[in-house]
Point group: D2
């Protein structure tokens, strides 16, 4: 694939010195490993389920990606926005697109799993070809694992998705959002059969996976299973994710192994999480708004991830295109160019120089935004929450998945349990 | 125009009684006044500049709508999402699309004002025809007025936009986002020449316009100028806006006049605003995230607006499609139907019944979400801010608009002023 | 009475210029009106019931002052601390020392009302004679008024306390803590019969008394009844109290009358109060700690009160001696001397210059403390609360006082009422 | 010493069952070790320097206890209040009463160290004899150690204080407020020469002493040095202190040793501290008010400490007598009696049953206070702070103590350092 990419921007660095950058990039688009091996920074995209939920195309609860087949124009538009924001990876919208998840707890689909996976691949490829991006096929944790199905059963589920990815010739594969390193290893083993590069991310924090396997040990196991890129995604805020990947990196290096590292954190502040991540926060998933990161929080994240040796820097739930653009803008000095979307943005608020009100023009500077501690406008709310912490993990009866809808009796039992806790 | 609209949904009311609603609506789409006269609730859309800024198509600072011509697919998609969320009005994306604004402070355009206004009309009409929605052409306050130009000059600016709206045959007109009732009156006078229904909204709070004209007096003047629908938009949170429109309604009724009422508030909590609204908050416009309303806050707003006798209920900056959907869902019992987008949403979180984790299924109920006081995850931030309050209004030298970019000297003077304040 | 008072201190003003002040004051102690007429600033003391509750000598609930007779050494010590902190008034510890209050709701006393009032006068005089202070006899609102007793009955209660004050020859009288201006007028009328100077304070905010009589009208009525000093005490924070007294002053001046003004606010931040004051806050009285003012908040209060023309500046519930000292220190430049207690305090933290840790020595300056926004260390708590607002006022059955203890049935009814509200 | 102690109280337990307790205790007052060996709970007192600073008798900065000699009536009164609140230990007010501290950084005394130490012993004994309390002589960390003086020099300083304690025949000794376990060991070694029981507390948290010696290792070293009671005091909130002492206990038990355990935490919430404790918080020492614990927080602390096997439960800076009373009230069921001060307090707010306002009577119950999350009334303040963290420890030039006052040049250098950090 040949990509011709021209970009002209004025970069404004910390010292208020203006640097003009004329970029004419005539790249033969390279694979993910070639890029990372060459020391390039790869900007990932953001999470699709939350972004499309807000737009009306994904249902919170099942969180399944049937919109790829049902509402392709909405999915295509979101891909385009992330591309424009600077993403180098179009991840297929195939999160939870395994058959055992698509038909869980009364959820039924108008489309087969295969149709959804295929549609998602086509959309990702279509938009990737419009810019400098690769297509990544993604698989994620399965209800079957939580319900204690066998290794073979779980692997068969991954295999069905992989077959589509191979047929659609994605550029590389990502096994993401695993709470148990064991299931992630199984996924990596299946993905490796394709011969394509494999990335693997767990949704864990510094305390490790739900069996308390440490981040360092998790990473070593994933690398040994064949993953060339390892890291974390979802469940925690950027600060926690960078901290966790640092522990992974230390573990891999101590074991004498090598890998590339990635982070795809939430766009929500979660200093109050326990090991289960934001799922346990009382605000999940419908009252997380006060926790949403600003673009300046994102620039801080990009810098810290980069300083930690993480070169694949993306996002997950809560990311909107402007968050991703902030990552690309922060690292523009290192990368030498700004994303296309920066034509509608100035560095550190410099677009405000054009505002009609003088006191808003006075905010057109880094110093202002970097120091600001934004108010919540919610004086009756606390700043931190107590996570639920039910302590229910794989194998517990309440985690057994079922095809039928949750019954009223089942719900009532859960409501009582929740209320008793308070 | 004939609209056939079929919708089947399960409404779940407070009492957990399930009500099935089968709707087959064969409507001849009626005008805005016929609807309001008949007691219908009209759901407005949300603000486009903030939503498209997050998606990468609008530049914060100038806040101009050239994307209507430049990136029509992005604007069309946002219209579609609001339609799907339940909006009955597709407002043309022509905010700040007057020539004096499009070429302000060094901002130059690849498209003429006329091209932008025409493109915006076409997009709104295209999507409106896909559902049960009207097209409203919108004009807003002008830099010319702030710079003390004459009544004739300001009216000529409105006239240019109106000419496009007439040519494109929009269904009705909105004069919105006026800080001074005088300028709004001028706008209404121009809009009235078209013979189309006219709505007028000020961006004011309970303290009145920037000349301290009270909400009641403002409303009376707008009605006398010919507006059939009056209210407020932008600048304040729903609570403040409903309070202000109540004062308008009381003023109009006291004067023995009649009108319909509308609110299009922010989707940000702003209890700490002064009369200038959220522009004065230190977080404007790049760190407002912690203030974003949840869907449950929106349901509360819809109910309070309706109880106050406001029947045109919409939104402004910060609204995402799910916010609008929440308005339509809250008022579904009164309206008898749910919006199309509710297929991907359950009332009061009932979609969570399908979640894999039992403690999240335990949140599938109104009582849980209604009582929750969401944490910010930001323990180092305050809950309220001190507004800037520079006290600069129409006629002040710093408010004079200029074609040239703000110079470095001008900026430096503003930066010093801002810093001295702290 | 002759007072010889020598004080030598180094005042450190804003500009870091050191001013040595040698004071040898040979004063004939003058009366309260002579002082105020001469333009002197009079520093009041702080509230005794809250301070002694923390020390273990007052019971929250009845809030009665029997400790004056029971534990005189504890009351004497608190008087001494306020004197040392700079108070020019030793108010007799006779709050709620009326017979109808002393025997209310099952509360019985080992001492008669007369014994308590006499002991309180003796203690106040003993300590006042140790320094430059006057003795003020105080009466406060009565359960009888709330229970709709007649004017004669209520006045008779005041008369009993007054008789002691006359016998013990206090220097002036204060009618304080009235929620209804009518009862305060009755009190002033009784106090005036003594021929001593009379001050009168209501526990009201800007909304006026519980019958919605405005602060301005209240003040006019009190002045007309004969009070030479008027103002507010208790129920609200300093900011609110200064605002309220400003309204009183404007009312008195508009009526062509003359008076001196005083404030004795809480030492708690109460931005979230309604007209009933801090009694309605859910934290009253046992969880108010996070609201306690710092000494720097107090200096701000002293300055604002003084700037508003209030020259009798004291405190109420929550005040500890260091709060009062802060008032005296802030106004030392105007008064020309520091209080005795300042020997153990440096202006604006300058005592920290002697701290062993260098980073604490770095805090020995005004700029540091004035800008600091102190954290609560309570991330799970909100910053504002919703007041109770039961809307129960004089005459309501629940406000009828009774000699017998509140019964279990009565309590249960109240508990249910409170819980239903949440 | 013979103590006859009669107390009659109504205990109200969780279940609202009333339990009458008639206590006639005819005790021969026993030593501290006999009590702890017998499984008794010993209630300590609170910190004197903070309490007396608020009352005007201690200067923040030097924090020295000359008031024992200068203002004995104020010190005696505070002892009495703690005794009345339930304290079984009257600790001599000899904190920082070593000669090298009394004459540090320009601080000079009118009294010799010996005079202060003797006066403090006399006051403690006088009040202890009024009730069921022991006298403990206390020594604390020295500027000499921070300035790298020799073991012999430092021990000589402790020896001077000890000589007074022996002469005055205190009941036992406490080495408290040590940041370095090494200095605490030296102190214990000196204290052991007296033959009296020895307690030793460090002002450390879970991260250990300033040389990163873990709590477990610290405790083992103190026990091996001869301390019979070990624990922590000051610097951290109760939650952190209990956690730290648990680690100490685990360390001692793992080493096969035996000890009794004590905690004397702050009465301030400090979840945001680093290893240096509240000294590093920006609010130290003059803006800590929003962090003050409520009485209910104290009851929680008492319960948790007791559950952790800590039987000597006291307090430090920030404690007022009502905080100590709350400890004694919480543990009244275990101890079988209430403190004398409870005559002015009802369990869990039951005194409010006598309040005049019905909605306050509705708060007369445990359930209300235990669930309340108290608001700060400070919407412009954060809930947590960033500690200073200068990383300056023993041996650093800035920590060298000097007899002369801190010079203006020294201050300026510190101010600059502090400002640069922000």
């Amino acid at each position: 694939m040949v990509c011709i990419y021209v970009n002209y921007q004025i970069l404004k660095c910390n010292k208020r010195v203006c640097i003009s950058v004329l970029l004419a990039r005539f790249d033969f688009t390279q694979g993910i490993l070639e890029r990372l091996d060459a020391g390039e920074i790869v900007i990932g995209d953001g999470g699709f389920v939350f972004a499309l939920e807000k737009r009306g195309y994904v249902k919170a609860g099942p969180w399944t990606p049937e919109a790829a087949a049902e509402y392709p124009e909405a999915v295509r538009q979101l891909h385009r926005e992330f591309l424009r924001a600077g993403s180098n990876v179009m991840q297929t919208f195939t999160f939870y697109a395994s058959d055992d998840k698509l038909e869980n707890r009364g959820h039924t689909q108008r489309f087969t799993g295969q149709q959804i996976n295929e549609a998602a691949c086509d959309l990702a490829r279509e938009v990737a070809n419009e810019g400098d991006a690769l297509v990544a096929g993604g698989v994620s944790q399965t209800p079957s694992y939580l319900s204690c199905k066998s290794e073979n059963d779980v692997k068969a589920i991954f295999k069905k998705q992989i077959d589509v990815f191979v047929k659609k010739n994605v550029d590389f594969l990502i096994a993401e959002y695993f709470e148990h390193v064991e299931e992630a290893e199984w996924a990596v083993q299946v993905l490796k059969t394709t011969g394509k590069p494999v990335a693997a991310t767990l949704c864990i924090g510094p305390e490790g996976d739900l069996n308390k396997v440490s981040p360092g040990d998790c990473a070593v196991r994933l690398v040994k299973a064949g993953a060339q890129i390892v890291g974390v995604n979802c469940h925690f805020d950027p600060e926690t994710c960078v901290k966790t990947v640092k522990m992974m990196k230390a573990g891999v290096e101590k074991a004498g192994l090598k890998a590339h590292y990635m982070t795809q954190p939430l766009a929500f502040h979660t200093p109050d999480c326990n090991c289960q991540g934001f799922i346990d926060l009382p605000e999940f998933p419908f009252s997380l708004e006060p926790r949403i990161l600003t673009r300046w929080d994102m620039q801080k994240y990009a810098r810290e991830a980069y300083n930690a040796g993480i070169h694949y820097i993306g996002g997950c739930c809560g990311f909107e295109p402007y968050h991703t653009r902030a990552l690309a803008e922060e690292l523009a000095p290192e990368r030498g160019f700004l994303p296309a979307g920066s034509e509608k943005h100035g560095n550190w608020g410099s677009g405000l120089e054009m505002h009609t009100k003088p006191w808003v023009r006075a905010r057109a500077r880094r110093d202002y935004w970097e120091k600001l501690k934004p108010a919540s406008g919610r004086p009756f709310c606390p700043s931190m929450a107590m996570p639920d912490g039910w302590g229910v993990t794989k194998g517990h009866a309440d985690l057994m998945q079922q095809k039928e809808a949750t019954s009223q009796e089942q719900l009532k039992a859960l409501f009582n349990k929740e209320t008793a806790r308070c």
